[in-house]
Assembly symmetry: C2
Homo-oligomer: 505 residues x 2
């Protein structure tokens, strides 16, 4: 047994200081080749920072190749703990040119090809606010009533809701620049404040809420702390990430075609979209009024329910029988389908299976057509002449929406009305269980159009049905995914009770 | 030469997993004794987090003893890199109960007494905003004109200035709760916005700006990144820390008795307090109007000057001769005096020394009496009945201020007027060089009353004189301190030019 480095300092082995200096030079020069060489090859090399831990030389090299260099810095302190002639820990305090201090801890090992880092842990000062998640934050931004059933809760308000004294940004800087300062809170915001919750801030949204990805061409992609490197889900992306990160306890959002359920699934949160028309939408920017609903996200089922107790009317009542539709499960990836089925079997053994034969392609077409038609009615006048002020995906949706005729809109409304009746009949007095999204959170490079249409086939059931839906977290292969419960209109509080009962502890 | 851990994974040595688990147990139980035992003894043991790097077992033990436990968390990933039978690096990804993920990197070493950590690096998710530094922040909070000489600059506005749409908080929650929403910007804020700067946010201040420490009983102490564990200096504490941390490029503050110069000195920033009465103070909460001035802090002299070019009228002109007064230097600690003298000798060799015989005790009494008298005139009506709503230090100052008679106030004004004349005569056409503060940033446990009165003896010269003063950063024993330049009234822009010339690169 040798003694620890703290007890008997050993001389710094030859070559280490030079390798450390070369690393610093390469970092400042963004010399990716040298950096790759100075990180040990193989699958066990580690590099961690605030965005997460990368495992393996390949993942680290991919990160380096795409980040465009490290922030300018100088080293102000260095501490070396020598283990033996071939291993040493180097801890450095850095001072960033942009302000603040950071720390870097590296384990260096010498092999036949020289010194290389086998593990690195890098910290830099946090920014004033994470602008991917928030547009404005405060301590609090707007204080609540001080007491009430939600005292102590903090709200991340999706930047579609009016908060008195602030503008609505809608995820687009051009929109924000011309938006008026709101003189009143949206009704739901006011009710939550009156119940004692504070507004922590205004959270980012996908542009005009018209996306399920959670990306934004202007403010960037909020992080998904439960699935680093993967998208957060949207459009209530900032609200969801704020809750995941612990910046707020309640993420107030909206759900038109899945904008609560998808980020809940991708980030392992609890979420509810309420019955269409049940909660007031004044002070809330519309996307497609036939489908838009108020919703919220939390880290636990109890908080999800407590918010509902403030906002929601009593349930009309109904049964608690669950039903699983195998053909809907099969719309998800096999891992997600298995995870959802496994969750249900664990918390509610013996759930009925039933086969439904649904014209999902027609319904998807009707849903997206009607959504586009209404979005154009709501915002085409503004967006039509400003497509270059929108990110490419949302601009493309508006461009297509602008081609829809009144007849297209009417036809889609007709199919949607039939679908609504059919879905409500099928669900009846029961609770439909299905995946909240078709997959775990994809990586940014994945085929988003495919991901989106696969998930919409699942989420449109509550969307077209105007039904309340709750998403509970479960996991597939170590990544979050969601179990979705859908019930008859007005049964929102029943779903929240069920969420508490059916959540895994 | 042995190969690195990445190439030939070795078995985890006996006892390591148990020690790691015991550490986790002790951390969650805040079992300080066990934690102390599980960190290697001696002066080279390291522990770093966002607040800085602690060096030595004693410093780490002191931190642990006072922090009251770590945030609740669970470990979701563990990676072990075994160096040899007695050394291993353990990297763990943590999931915090309050949200978000963190990382912990530990080098473990086995000695005769068992396994212990010789170095630890801990990261937890950043909060939505650092509430010690900020009350509200945005991206931006208020956009500037979009173009202009300050385009790209971001302002941390001390929470004493009116920003339209927001309240003035003055560093006290009771004050904030009753403050109206401002309908107009303070003039200087408006001018900076018109020049293209954005408002990043509203920065914390010592209560009603009546302190030089930078502590606040309600929102905590902003960090001093250049001197971790030491106070930031105040009362423009949040503005200064925001600039140090890189959260903003310009910290807008005020200086009555040193509230720009002291945080500049403690944090290694550039700062200016302007000539008394030169810049409009409408929309700015007063402390003692006879002494209150507008000021700002930056990370470099060029930015300090560019802000002045927007706000300040031309200088009446004057000489550039510097003068050092040894008896004023001697009011600082020997290290700070030597650092200031060394800085001056390096950038401007051959500066004249001159002895001044000043009644500093009388002046200090007159300054603090008049300041207290005016503070009571301004805020006594509010504060008098709410002393328990103030932190103990500021409450004590108000309590004393309430005992001052009109005659006390008159007498102090008389001495202050004499002092003003005398100081202006002595400075004349020259530039006085003195320490910005009497010491480097003290630790929170140091005797603040002594620190305050030592520094006030230096800062009151510009305060009583109504003179502009610039603070340039230098350092003493690795810690920041400030070189202060004081000139005749209206020579603010000359001082800013001089600051650019006399700053060390």
């Amino acid at each position: 047994m040798t003694s620890g480095p703290a007890e008997t300092p050993r001389p710094v082995p030859p070559g280490l200081v030079e390798a450390f200096r070369e690393y610093e030079r390469a970092l400042m020069a963004d010399d990716v080749e040298a950096l790759d060489r100075l990180f040990a090859p193989g699958p066990t090399t580690l590099r961690g920072d605030a965005e997460g831990l990368l495992v393996g030389h390949d993942a680290i090299a991919e990160f380096r190749g795409s980040r465009g260099g490290a922030p300018r810095r100088r080293i102000v302190q260095t501490h070396v703990q020598v283990v033996d002639d071939d291993h040493a820990l180097v801890v450095a305090v850095t001072e960033l040119e942009r302000g603040g201090r950071g720390q870097q801890t590296q384990l260096w090992a010498r092999s036949a090809t020289g010194w290389a880092v086998t593990a690195a842990h890098v910290s830099v000062p946090a920014p004033a606010l994470d602008t991917r998640v928030w547009r404005v934050v405060g301590d609090p931004l707007v204080p609540g009533a001080g007491s009430g059933p939600l005292a102590g809760e903090t709200l991340a308000v999706k930047d579609l809701y009016a908060v008195a004294g602030h503008r609505v940004g809608a995820g687009n800087p051009t929109w924000l620049a011309q938006a008026p300062v709101e003189s009143e809170h949206a009704t739901v915001v006011g009710r939550l404040l009156a119940a004692g919750a504070d507004v922590r801030g205004l959270a980012r949204t996908d542009e005009l809420a018209w996306s399920l990805a959670g990306t934004n061409a202007h403010s960037g992609t909020p992080p998904n702390p439960r699935a680093p490197g993967r998208i957060p889900g949207g459009s209530s992306s900032g609200s969801a990430s704020a809750v995941s990160l612990g910046h707020a306890t309640v993420g107030l959002g909206t759900d038109t075609g899945g904008s609560i359920r998808v980020p809940a699934a991708y980030q392992g949160l609890h979420g509810i979209r309420t019955t269409h028309g049940l909660l007031p939408r004044d002070g809330l920017l519309p996307l497609a009024p036939s489908f838009d609903t108020v919703g919220w996200l939390t880290r636990d089922a109890a908080t999800l329910r407590r918010v509902g107790e403030v906002l929601l009317p009593p349930s009309p009542g109904g049964g608690d029988d669950l039903v699983v539709v195998p053909s809907l499960l099969a719309l998800a990836t096999p891992e997600v389908a298995a995870a959802v089925e496994g969750h249900v079997d664990a918390v509610a053994p013996g759930v009925a299976r039933e086969e439904w034969d649904l014209p999902l392609d027609d319904w998807l077409d009707a849903f997206t057509t009607r959504q586009g038609f209404e979005a154009w009615q709501a915002h085409g006048g503004w967006a039509g002449g400003r497509l270059d002020a929108l990110g490419p995906d949302v601009a493309g949706r508006f461009r297509h929406a602008g081609t829809l005729s009144a007849a297209d809109g009417e036809r889609a409304a007709g199919v949607a009305a039939e679908a609504r009746t059919r879905i409500r009949d099928l669900v009846g007095d029961r609770v439909l269980v299905l995946p909240s999204a078709a997959s775990v959170a994809p990586r940014p490079r994945d085929d988003m159009a495919r991901v989106r249409s696969a998930t919409l086939r699942l989420t449109l059931l509550a969307g077209l049905g105007g039904l309340p839906a709750v998403s509970l977290p479960t996991s597939a292969g170590g990544l979050p995914c969601g179990v979705c419960l859908v019930a008859a209109p007005g049964r929102d509080r029943d779903l929240l009770d069920l969420a508490v009962r059916l959540s895994k502890p």
